[in-house]
Amino acid sequence: MVLNWKYGGLLLGLVFFLAVLLVKPIGVSTQFVILDGIVWDMQNPEIVTQTDEGYTSTNAYLAKSGGKYAKSVANPVNYSFIFVIAMMVGALVSSSLRKGIPKGERMVPAIWKANYGGNVLKRWLVAFAGGFIVLYGARLAGGCTSGHMMSGMMQTAISGYVFAAGAFLAAFPTALYMFKEEG
């Protein structure tokens, strides 16, 4: 059972407000790049290097904005990276307190099963491809649902409105086409 939207919305709004009050707006998708960078730098230490002014990278994306991503790759114990790990722990604890997710649902969600049956490989393939497109798009856009849509629109950022317009313009028709059964 989920929280009634009035309580849920209030709580979620408070979290976004507290983040801005105490530190900075919430964002998640950058940390996929940081984790990629950490793994890449472990394979090849030439990727991220320290300079007199800070950090830089042989990868143009990690080196952009004065090496801000390169710096996070070199120092994983930073606010934004720990934030995402804490999110995962928070979700796990919250879901465990309610006896977790049923076994069948863990493999294939009900709405998928109602439309496409219980074939796990098909579902996992779409989840993988979906993840690829979502993160590629989020990095191209410079943020995701939390960074652009929620944090952006709450600050009246034009980028937030532009992002939300693009996201929903694609998401509604896709879901209407793919999920005709409600599940």
Binding site: V2, L3, W5, G9, L11, L12, G13, L14, F16, F17, A19, V20, L21, V23, P25, V28, V33, Y61, I82, F83, A86, M87, M88, G90, L92, I101, P109, A110, I111, W112, V126, G130, G131, F132, V134, L135, Y136, G137, L140, G142, T145, M150, M154, Q155, T156, A157, I158, S159, G160, V162, F163, G166, A167, L169, A171, T174, A175, M178, F179, G183
Partner: protein, 195 residues
């Protein structure tokens, strides 16, 4: 050190709330996006409204540091990337934040989403110079109105940004209340939360 403690506290709170509102559950995302159950949409709209009103209201009262705002740049790639994210979000039922939370709470399909996401982010890291060359990555960090105490350029310079923020926050809250539970379909699955 204080920042790390805050990251743990706020991050854990965010993850727990995402779980409790159903955002980490692909069924709720799917039903929101196929318009058969807008409960989650009402939650999200209310949250944006509440956060906006508290932040701009707090700024006007001098209780919230304007310097903590961080407005992202608007450029053509924001729209293209938004389209891509929307497509993958609808197909998979996950976005970056809810995907990692769902994976942590034991959803196996979310693990595949996260793996795909790491590969997608890596692909973007490698193709970044291409998009830069196209010129779709430059723009400005506009806000709707001019927000006192910030340097963000205003889309409507004559508009007072903090008042506009309050008004828009209020509008989000109103829309959350008047938005119907469903716009399509007939069955009403899981539409009656107990709490």
């Amino acid at each position: 050190m204080l920042h790390i403690v805050l990251a743990i506290v706020i991050g854990a709170g965010f993850g727990a709330v995402l779980d409790r509102i159903g955002a980490t559950n692909p069924n709720w995302i799917g039903r929101m996006l196929n318009l058969t159950n807008l409960h989650l949409m009402k939650t999200i709209l209310l949250a944006i409204g509440v956060a906006s009103v508290l932040m701009f209201g707090g700024q006007m009262l001098g209780l919230v540091d304007v310097g903590h705002m961080s407005v992202k740049t608007a450029y053509v790639g924001v729209f293209i990337g938004g389209l891509m994210l929307g497509l993958g979000w609808a197909a998979s039922g996950f976005c970056p934040g809810t995907g990692v939370c769902a994976a942590a709470s034991g959803r196996i399909d979310a693990l595949f989403f996260v793996a795909g996401g790491l590969l997608g982010a890596a692909a973007y890291m490698l193709s970044y110079p291409f998009w830069q060359g196209l010129g779709v990555l430059s723009g400005k960090a506009w806000t709707l109105g001019a927000i006192p105490g910030t340097d963000y350029p205003a889309a409507i310079p004559t508009l007072q940004g903090d008042l506009a923020g309050l008004a828009i926050g209020g509008a989000f809250i109103v829309i959350a209340f008047i938005l119907p539970r469903r716009l399509a379909g007939r069955k009403a699955p899981a539409g009656h939360p107990a709490e």
